[in-house]
Amino acid sequence: MSKVDLRVNIAGVELKNPVMTASGTFGSGIEYSEYVDLNRLGAVVTKGVANIPWKGNASPRVAETYGGMLNSVGLQNPGIEEFIKKDIPFLRQYDTKIIVNIAGRTVEDYCSVVERLASEDIDLLELNISCPNVKEGGVCFGTVPSMVEHVTKEVKKFAKQPLIVKLTPNVTDIVEIAKAAEAGGADGISLINTLLGMVIDIHKRKPVLANVVGGLSGPAIKPVAVRMVHQVAKATKLPIIGMGGIMTGEDAIEFIQAGATGVAVGTANFINPRATLDVLEGIENYLNQYGEEKIGDVRGII
């Protein structure tokens, strides 16, 4: 097997390969490091962190669905100070890039986390704008183009690392949203976050999730994710991190052919703790099978 060049460049940061973890499914890698050599990953994307600790939603927070799952963790996190104390030093032991996913309830929340991270040794920021904007009556930041542009622009003022904006798929026109992020100064786009869904326990006659609704992830949503990556790749110049149901190297290649530079593995970790490495090896196999020399040669060819 000849050596394929798997390196990718995301907003000026070079990753040894395109495979990363999807935020919230991998913690900061501490638990999965017992199953996976983190040195082999292109990047670890950490669980969303806010300026102060969040308790998240009540349990149950998970419901299984056909080919997928719903979660309603509600962005439980220990707050940025605890995160900086514990998680960054842990990850810095490894030769992998660190992408910190950021949650917030107001523009100021986001800015304060990003400002706090400016002096930290991390590689990229990923802004999760699927959060409710408390000042705008709880409407999701990521669903209104003007809010997307505004929050991106404000956060950029404080950002020392390149800023990836992570989009929610629960919108009429993903291209319009991606363009708003680009106009706000985003250095890259991640997509997709989860689709809003609900499962009812018909025997108990109540929703399975304490929070009633939750985010749908897993292979069930992959066709929606591939479509959105393809649309956004055609409409903006920004590098894209694609995710949504990636279980195998072939799934990852689908996203890359649709135009993604990086790929993130989320729900698949729960089904197979070694999923990230299986995806990586599957990508290598595909490229070898077709005698490709570098991963860039199959990117965005659709």
């Binding site: 499914t25 199953y35 050599d37 998970v62 799952m69 979660n71 703790p273």
Partner: protein, 269 residues
């Protein structure tokens, strides 16, 4: 590196209506097991993605056998119940923090003449019963076991085999006392140094109230819906009292539990 294990099914038999005993050949797993830990069982069916957490009922370190006892309650356990002897099962584990056994070997060494064993009381209901088997095997003092079931008791004999005194209650009165474990407690008025409990939430809550009143240290094994099973995804949390504070925090049943001290647990609803 830890990994997903592919283990052979040695036995998968119905021991009571809808209740199955499964024995696995799992040498690599049994070594480190602590009573009260669990494994995550993958269903290997495309539409059912998440693994099913099942407590370790018993291990045999010599033969490498691992026993699970489970009830068929939904799609996943149905699929598992239909698997055949000789087939492979995918599991990860052992997972979680099991029961603390306070009579450790140092105690024994220090008090060789007159080792102090505790008086143990196990209170379990329904599908909370299985993990207590491995526990009983590892306890040195006197063990009393109170078991509650809706109708068909399971594993009664095995507790006796390992020397425990067993009392059973069934809701339909078909075996033992007609009622639940709280009725057993009211009848027997048991004394103990340590209570271990696992079962449905209302039962656990009642046991906790009683043991608090009686002032007996108590370990409680909780259940919650899970995804990763190893502490990374935060979907399986329960409310736990913060130390030295009035505030609470969400802790992971899969990693920080499933066994918690009674006084840590906050009972909502």
């Amino acid at each position: 590196m830890k990994k997903k294990h592919i283990v052979e099914i040695l036995l998968n038999e119905e021991i009571a209506p809808n209740n199955y005993r499964m024995v696995l050949s799992a040498k690599e797993i049994v070594e480190e097991v602590v009573a009260g830990q669990f494994v995550n069982v993958y269903c290997n069916k495309g539409e059912l993605l998440l693994p099913r957490p099942i407590s370790i009922c018993e291990v045999n370190r010599e033969s490498g056998e691992l026993t699970l006892v489970y009830a068929v309650v939904g799609k996943g356990t149905k699929v598992i119940s239909e698997m055949k002897v000789g087939e492979d099962l995918q599991i990860i584990g052992p997972l979680g923090r099991g029961f603390m056994i306070l009579e450790d070997e140092e105690d024994e060494e220090e008090n060789q003449e007159n080792p102090v064993y505790l008086e143990h009381l196990i209170i379990a209901g329904g599908i909370g019963v299985p993990p207590m088997v491995e526990l009983v095997k590892n306890l040195k003092g006197n063990v009393t076991v109170l078991l509650g079931f809706r109708c068909n008791p399971i594993l009664e004999d095995i507790f006796k085999k390992y020397g425990a005194t067993v009392h059973v209650a069934t809701e339909d009165g078909s075996v033992g006392l007609k009622g639940n474990v709280m009725d057993l407690i009211n009848q027997l008025k048991p004394k103990a140094d340590m209570v271990y409990s696992c079962g449905p939430k209302p039962m656990l809550k009642a046991v906790a109230q009683w043991s608090k009143k009686e002032n007996i240290a108590t370990q409680i094994s909780l259940e919650e819906r899970m995804a990763c099973g190893i502490g990374a995804c935060l979907v399986c949390t329960c409310k736990i009292q913060k130390e030295e504070e009035t505030d609470w925090e969400n802790r992971r049943v899969c990693k920080d539990g499933p066994v918690f001290w009674r006084d840590e647990v906050i009972w909502d609803e």
